[in-house]
Assembly symmetry: none
Homo-oligomer: 503 residues x 2
């Protein structure tokens, strides 16, 4: 990279732009003019023997002198800058990876080296958000074949840390999602590790849903552990329930998710690479994957689930891990709560064998735990169900869950939302339909997962008979603006729960 000979002086402005690095220079700055930079130009910023790429904003008044340069907080911290430090800038070099993305758009296949170049430039921020949006779009809609998904998965593993464990069998469990409230993971980990399975579970935060497993677990215990902390918890208890984001396992996944989320885009290829790169990087070698199928779940049909299952098994085999897909019923939400705190409440009710615990969540968790115990060699084929139920009913799963939470930093009290609005049936009848997507959207508008207490508490399931004015669900929120917004969306979507009158 060519560096301009002219050095500017760093002045902090304290502007937080999250992951999006921004550089600020004065409109009459000689370097801007000489280099031909304008607002929105992407430029390389060099300081303290490091560099990063940032987008230029131009300052027109007294915030900066013409010899000053400033950076958004994230960029300032990445470079470790202090006031007065010398900074130079240069043009962004030609990016080979950008040409590869372009090639993919026009139908070229991407090989291993190609995928690695794209993923490496994604992780270091050389590719802009626009390029990443273009990349995930070009890969979506069945445009990646199995070899390309293998190449993408491997590139994502290579771009981050990779854990190894001293145990021959390391199991994991994952749900592709799309089913609100389907929070079986904490229960399955508790049962599995209580029976001796090794299960270093890393989870993600919500992408397009009202809560990810990490968001829900964070209500119950700290989840932001580093690698050493996670190892210690697994050594002590055989398992953990932590956020994967702090581990630097497949960091490319987080970068891609950043653009997939606002685009609400999650294609088969990206889904498989996202799941398996995290599992492989975490060191698992036997992985159970739950694929709930339903008209409003992520998998809309058995065919779609089978297609993804086939991809998961094939890509897993190519990369040396045994993947067992399990297609489950995704017709309606599991449990009652949708949103971090409300889901955490359901989980604890099941683990503590409360009378009122949601039976569907218990049943689903037992089904998955049974299969996992068989896969991991802790139960003979056909014997998993009995062992799982006994472990839960005896309280051993709850004891084990508390051990894990304690090792992660301590079990927490579940908080409750200050604002609750009850949505009632407008007539009597039988509940004949529940729209998972609309429910999820209401929960998100209410503030989930950013406000952990926000979300939605479902009081009915399919085939429940309701009277007029009977509560269908409650909207929970932390802020009046958010509650108002969720209510106004709900008012426009009264068919989120369909009630059929007796004929």
């Amino acid at each position: 990279m060519n560096r301009a000979p002219d050095t500017l002086r760093f002045k902090p402005l304290g502007i937080d732009t999250a992951y999006d690095h921004v550089v600020f220079m004065h409109a009459r700055c000689h370097v801007c003019r000489a280099e031909g930079f304008a607002a929105q130009t992407r430029i390389v910023v060099h300081a303290r023997d490091k560099s990063l790429i940032a987008t230029l904003n131009i300052i027109n008044d007294g915030l900066l002198d013409t010899n000053d340069i400033s950076l958004s907080l994230g960029a300032q911290h990445t470079l470790g800058l202090e006031e007065g430090d010398p900074v130079t800038v240069s043009h962004v070099p030609f990016l080979h990876s950008a040409s590869l993305v372009r090639g993919k758009i026009f139908g070229q296949r991407l090989g291993r080296a190609d995928m690695q170049a794209i993923i490496d430039d994604a992780v270091t921020g050389r590719l802009s958000e626009l390029h990443l949006a273009s990349f995930v779009t070009a890969c979506a809609g069945e445009h990646l074949d199995t070899d390309e998904i293998v190449a993408l998965t491997e590139a994502m593993v290579t771009a981050g840390e990779r854990l190894t464990w001293p145990h021959p069998v390391v199991v994991d469990k994952h749900c592709v999602g799309g089913l609100p409230g389907n929070r079986t993971t904490p229960i399955v980990v508790a049962i599995g590790t209580a029976c001796g399975l090794v299960m270093p579970k890393t989870s993600s935060r919500a992408i397009t849903s009202p809560a990810g497993t990490a968001d829900t677990m964070e209500v119950l215990a700290p989840v932001n552990l580093d690698l050493a902390g996670m190892r210690r918890v697994v050594e002590q208890t055989g398992g953990c329930l932590v956020w994967g984001g702090a581990m630097s396992l497949s960091p490319a996944d987080d970068v891609l998710i950043r653009v997939e989320r606002p685009l609400d885009l999650d294609s088969d290829g990206q889904l498989v690479a996202s799941i398996l790169s995290k599992k492989i990087a975490a060191g698992s070698n036997r992985v159970l994957i739950d694929l709930p199928v339903g008209p409003t779940a992520k998998m809309r049909s058995i065919e779609a689930a089978n297609r993804v299952s086939g991809r998961l098994v094939a890509v897993g085999r190519a990369l040396g891990i045994e993947v067992t897909p399990m297609v489950t019923d995704g017709l309606q939400p599991i449990g009652r709560g949708i949103g971090p705190a409300l889901e955490a409440r359901d989980v604890v009710q099941v683990l503590t064998n409360e009378k009122n615990a949601p039976a569907d969540l218990r049943e689903r968790a037992l089904l998955l735990a049974a299969r996992l115990l068989e896969l991991g060699g802790k139960a003979a084929p056909g014997q998993g169900a009995q062992l799982a139920a006994a472990t839960l009913d005896s309280g051993r799963a709850w004891t084990q869950f508390q051990r894990i939470c304690a090792a992660q930093g301590g079990l927490r009290e579940i908080p409750v939302a200050p604002l609750v609005h009850i949505v009632r049936a407008t007539r009597a009848g039988r509940v004949s339909g529940i729209d998972n997507r609309v429910l999820a959207r209401i929960a998100k508008l209410a503030g989930a997962p950013t406000s952990p207490v926000a979300g939605l508490d479902l009081h009915v399931h399919l085939d429940t008979w309701v009277e007029r004015d009977q509560p269908l669900f409650s909207i929970h929120a932390d802020a009046p603006g958010e509650l108002r917004y969720a209510r106004s969306y709900q008012a426009e979507h009264t068919d989120v729960i369909v009630i059929e009158e007796e004929s």
Copy 2:
């Protein structure tokens, strides 16, 4: 859209983020906290009965108080804000157009209403740059069929102003670009309108090139006319040569170009919609399109040019305009000057029949004018060339050009650069290669088009025999810093003009 009840006070910060609207709020602002906003959240900003969508940056120090709100300059001007004005904010509503973009990614065809929804939300800024990047990617790589390109073109026309003219035949001429110095438009308009054609020509300013036709024309006459001013000029003279940016013709085109440019993505479908939406909005019904083909031009092969030509004709027919594509030689620059004033000089030399006028520019302009005269019914088939040459040679084209300039506000003197550096041949030989892209870059580094006098004057063409030390081209600049910068880049790219020694 629901408005938050809480009002903030506008404080200008003078930060220019170009087209990308940014809103600045304090980290402890009560509205941010109540609404759950974080850095990079997209929010609706309401003020003075207008609204726009902007991306949130969070201020952590003394630039703003907790009751203040600031906006980037573009957003401030769009809302017409002054210091102290009340501003409210709200969440971005659910966007149907975003679902349509998603559908396209997964292979759904987009109908007329779909395209209109997407384009309307693009123009008003409701769709983010990420969504637009995803949209142009999903449409690239031959993923738009002719019906979809027709729908896209029509939606782009509908989203802006649309001119009508009392004349049955209104002609236009367009070049797809990529060839430096190819400034035939002013000459073609002068010849065509001198022969009675009606030609309300709107041109663009430079996007990635050293000069757009509007930049070059501005050296010779005012081009920033409004709609009424343009109509008056066309009524008086039969034609005009104005900047299209002030007309609001197909504003969606400018929005899409903003994301296509950094992605270096210009698909057939978008190219056709971009060109034809501008022409239809300007009220033309017979359009000649110049497609220069060459290894460093936009059309790299005859096949590519033919494919685009077919689309242009089909889409034009569906929308009621007659499009005539014309594939031309794009191997090397046309004329000598590259940059606004130097290109204007070439244009005037051709129009005034100067002995020294660049023959290639004259020839290319006559070729296009001839075809246009035939298309517009002013010459019988095969007779256009003779009429065009006679009109130019007799001085009638020059007289007509002066009339147009006078009507637009007065013909101007062409300014000359104070600084000129001559680049000379380092050996004798035959010129065997000219890199259009590097030449354009040198001209831009010298200050074009911001400094109208800046640019590059080419003294040789392909196959010219040169002696050692013979001038190859001159770099023109207005400022010493810019000249230094262009020279240093040129010194690193000595193969911009390849000289082959006699073997």
